[in-house]
């Protein structure tokens, strides 16, 4: 018999398509894993960004994972009932981002202002002497920063 705990473990193996070191579980996008009395598996995901093109891919990856583990009766839905914010990224996820060369988002009180955006720590040299270049990077979830210490341009997973 499949248990929700097992499913959570399987989903640890499903990675963000653009950040292959970060699992969907550590990204914090899975808001519900439920098995009904009729053995139907219901999984709910919440988009990181409303316009993120990777969400359709993530949904498909979750469906493929369920099938690979022999689950044939399932629903995978995307909704905003529990909206995602960057504080939902786990500690493990933050370490993985840092090792990947992408500064993790600072945890904050969900009131976004310039000060928070500018608080990026360089993932290469750990300097805090950095400056925001633009809040819009190569993907919706990344901002661009410059490190005055090691003179590298770097990206941050931006706080939302």
């Amino acid at each position: 018999m499949t248990t929700p705990e097992q499913i959570w473990t399987w989903l640890e193996e499903v990675k963000d398509p653009e950040i292959p070191v970060l699992s969907l579980v550590d990204l914090g996008v899975i808001t519900k894993v439920e098995i009904t009395n009729e053995e139907l598996v219901n999984i709910v995901l919440t988009p990181t960004f409303a316009g993120c093109p990777a969400m359709a891919y993530m949904k498909k990856a979750v469906e493929d994972t369920l099938q690979e583990h022999g689950v044939s009766e399932y629903t995978v839905t995307l909704n905003f009932d529990e909206p995602w914010n960057s504080n939902k990224i786990s500690e493990k996820g933050r370490k993985a981002l840092q090792q990947f060369g992408l500064a993790p988002p600072p945890t904050y009180n969900l009131i976004l202002d310039l000060d928070i955006l500018e608080q990026a720590i360089c993932p290469y040299c750990q300097s805090t002497d950095t400056t925001l270049r633009t809040p819009f990077g190569p993907t919706l979830c990344r901002s661009m920063h410059y490190c005055r210490n090691c003179h590298q341009l770097f990206e941050q997973f931006k706080p939302v």
Partner: protein, 252 residues
């Protein structure tokens, strides 16, 4: 029943604004005046299309057609966007000014909607609001910088401000359901939103060399919310649906 009409009307105008401005912003992709601005407008375009999808999805759940059909299968007179979002991109000063005027209104709109009595909309608003903060931050930063930079930058922005202003007032064109929208607490209503917006816009522009047009001297561009549009909208819709119209069975 009436309040459902009011809700559908409210959702259509917001979704259509997002879709059309998203397409306009995407026209900067590859031709931005700076690489960073090219990327910023492209990212905001992507966000706005995502926002329109979320709102069309709410409409679909209320019995309207699916999001793709709503976005790509209607004629201009079935759209409820304001004229401001339909206008061509013009020069960068105009696009920046439109973005500043529109996105400040939009952020206030979605902040208010987080309190909507229609819960699915309130939930979507929480999400969109957090993304819109980046759009407003971008607009306000650049308006402050360029509005105090050189005589040329100030002059070009001032011209853009005067051009865009009557259209920006059209954002707040009231719905025929306005009373129900307010009394059922779906939304605070356009009059209140416009007051909040004016205060916000005046504060930012007050930090620059730009002069706010005196609101009563310019006639608002109205009609968009009722399906009356500039010729630019149908031309844009034709472009958006060009491939589909050539080959409805085309696969990507």
């Amino acid at each position: 029943m009436d309040s459902e009409f009011a809700l559908v009307d409210l959702l259509y105008k917001m979704a259509d604004d997002q879709l059309i401005l998203g397409h306009r912003n995407s026209e900067w992709t590859g031709i931005g005046p700076l690489l960073e601005e090219d990327i910023a407008f492209s990212s905001m375009a992507q966000d706005k299309l995502g926002h329109s999808l979320a709102l069309y999805q709410l409409l679909h759940e209320l019995g309207e057609a699916d999001p793709d059909t709503l976005a790509f299968m209607r004629n201009a007179n079935q759209f409820h966007c304001c004229h401001l979002v339909e206008l061509p991109i013009g020069d960068y000063a105009f696009s920046l000014m439109r973005h500043f005027l529109f996105d400040n209104a939009e952020l206030l709109r979605f902040e208010a909607l987080t309190q909507s009595t229609y819960e699915p909309l309130a939930k979507v608003a929480v999400k969109l609001k957090s993304e819109l903060k980046y759009h407003v931050l971008h607009a306000n930063t650049l308006i402050r910088q360029l509005g105090t930079a050189t005589p040329e930058s100030t002059e070009r922005l001032q011209k853009a401000l005067e051009e865009a202003w009557p259209y920006a007032l059209g954002i707040f064109e009231e719905s025929i359901y306005e009373e129900q929208i307010i009394s059922s607490k779906l939304f605070i209503g356009e009059v209140k939103l416009k007051q909040d917006w004016l205060a916000k816009i005046e504060t930012i522009l007050g930090q620059t060399n730009l002069k706010v047009p005196i609101p009563n001297t310019l006639t608002p561009a109205l009609g968009g919310r009722m399906g009356q549009h500039t010729p630019y909208l149908q031309a844009l819709l034709n472009e958006m649906t060009e491939v589909y119209n050539i080959d409805p069975n085309a696969e990507w």
